[in-house]
Amino acid sequence: MAEPKTLGQMLEARGISRRAFLKYTSYLASSMALTPLAAKAMAENLASARRQSVIWLSFQECTGCTESFTRSFAPTLEELIFDFISLDYHHTLQAASGEAAEEARHIAMRENKGKYVVVVDGSIPTKLDGAYSTIAGISNLQMLEETVKDAAAVIAVGTCAAFGGIPAAAPNPTGAVGVDQLVTDKAIINIPGCPPIPEAMTGTISYILSFGKLPKLDHLKRPIAYFGNNIHDRCYRRPFYERGLFAKSFDDEGARKGWCLYEVGCKGPTTYNACATLKWNGGVSFPIQSGHGCLGCSEPNFWDKGGFYNPLPAPIRDVGKVAAGAAAAGAAAGLISAAAGHARKKNAMKEGKS
């Protein structure tokens, strides 16, 4: 049987009805806050979309992002989108290895010049000319530069690829950075998260395949549809925040009653992601619903913001020692001022002016 050339043909071959596909595109359109007409356009454009060549580069990463996508809750239409793209290079998923694997990447780059999409997960080490991480004898830095040269767009998946993530945490020994700090002449979309929500990834790819352009992005190059709201504004525990009812620890009465986790370090108010609306594992839950505060994993430098369990109002630098030093210095200055006053008084007494 000939391989389907369009997504519509592939869906037909797999027995997916048009009704089910329309439901899926309606869901995607609504998740991206598009109009109902856009859902229809998405369905038509996606059905006729041809296979998109994708080169997936994994650098300094833990494979959590790939795990997130490939181990979703149940086989869904989102997975079919991944089946549909031509994943020409992916360390974890590809059967080829060694020179054959690298050859696959070069063939994809050659045959789809200017049209392929590069997906990056993991940060890129820059110290020692990128020697901290190499693949097939070249550094990640070289591989990225070589691969994105003729790409149509770059999607940085996960916080490591988007902002440097955990490898970039202080003291950042490898000089890890995100993609957009190195690639400045290509369209880049960041889909951060540790890991990112699968729907944010599939939704973004579907949008590109449907409309042939990038979705609206925020100032950190994240799709606004998925990263436009902070977790706090969409959190089901928000009413408890407003009423001043907080869990003080993870096993107290407040925690058992589902009160707000702000006091135990939740970063929901400063974290933009769709966790509280799309949730995880087929919409079952998300970290706050499971009883743990948001870590802020879709934000830059989330590892270095003063500790996961320190509340947002707490200073992120050690104030105690500095304050103690300032107090000692203040006391010394005060005593010097007083001593100067005593000296002036003594002189004045001597001169008979007092």
Binding site: R243, E299, R317, V319, L335, K345
Partner: protein
């Protein structure tokens, strides 16, 4: 704008708190150890113990003398309103309780946000009235210095930015929070060197006044 928030929660807060502590300790120590003339007069008969007289004077001055009550009604009531308002906001808004806890380890229950919003609104109005009174009273205007106006600005700004941040109005939350924290940093830096220092000095000045008047046998 996350970087601005990091700056506010990090170096800005650290620096401003250091200046605040340094300035307050410097002024208090220099004041307490400054040379003073000995009062060589005899303590009048019937005078109270000095410490009791000092504490009593502190509380007595919280309300005006009956003969001045009518004339100073506005400044007395308005002063109480914004001082109490500021105290409620600073000490009972949940994020502020957490901030104080992070610095001192001390904690207490917080009030619901709606109460803080209400108190914040009243406090802002009260502060605006205080400024209007200062500008409309010829005597007050005459004796006002730049210190008074700067103090007013650095006091009302954290209240306004705090209300905006708590209600997520205008800009993104992290930007509002960063601006709010930075406005508090300015407050901390100005505190020891301007009239805000009365927050500490009021205890010394009233107490000293009470002790001196008591020694001289003045009936209060």
């Amino acid at each position: 704008m996350t970087d601005l928030l990091d700056f506010a929660r990090g170096p800005a807060l650290q620096f401003s708190l250091a200046v605040f502590v340094f300035g307050v300790v410097w002024r208090l120590v220099s004041l307490l150890f400054m040379p003073r003339l000995k009062d060589k007069s005899a303590i009048r008969s019937g005078a109270k113990p000095t410490m009791i007289a000092a504490v009593a004077e502190f509380f007595r001055r919280m309300l005006p003398k009956p003969e001045f009550a009518k004339r100073t009604r506005f400044t007395t009531i308005n002063g109480w309103v914004f001082h109490l308002g500021l105290a409620i906001i600073v000490l009972t808004f949940a994020p502020h309780v957490l901030f104080i806890k992070s610095l001192t380890g001390l904690t207490w229950p917080a009030l619901p946000n709606i109460v803080i919003f209400a108190v914040g609104g009243v406090t802002v109005v009260s502060l605006i009235l205080a400024l209007a009174h200062r500008l409309s009273s010829p005597v007050l205007k005459l004796i006002s210095t730049m210190d008074d106006y700067v103090t007013w600005v650095v006091t009302i700004t954290p209240v306004l930015t705090g209300l905006a941040a708590a209600s997520h109005v205008g800009l993104r939350y992290e930007t509002l929070l960063a601006i709010h924290i930075l406005s508090i940093c300015v407050f901390f830096v100005w505190f020891p060197f301007g009239k805000l220092m009365h927050g500490f000095l009021v205890f010394l000045t009233r107490g000293e006044m009470g002790a001196q008047l008591n020694r001289r046998g003045i009936k209060l």
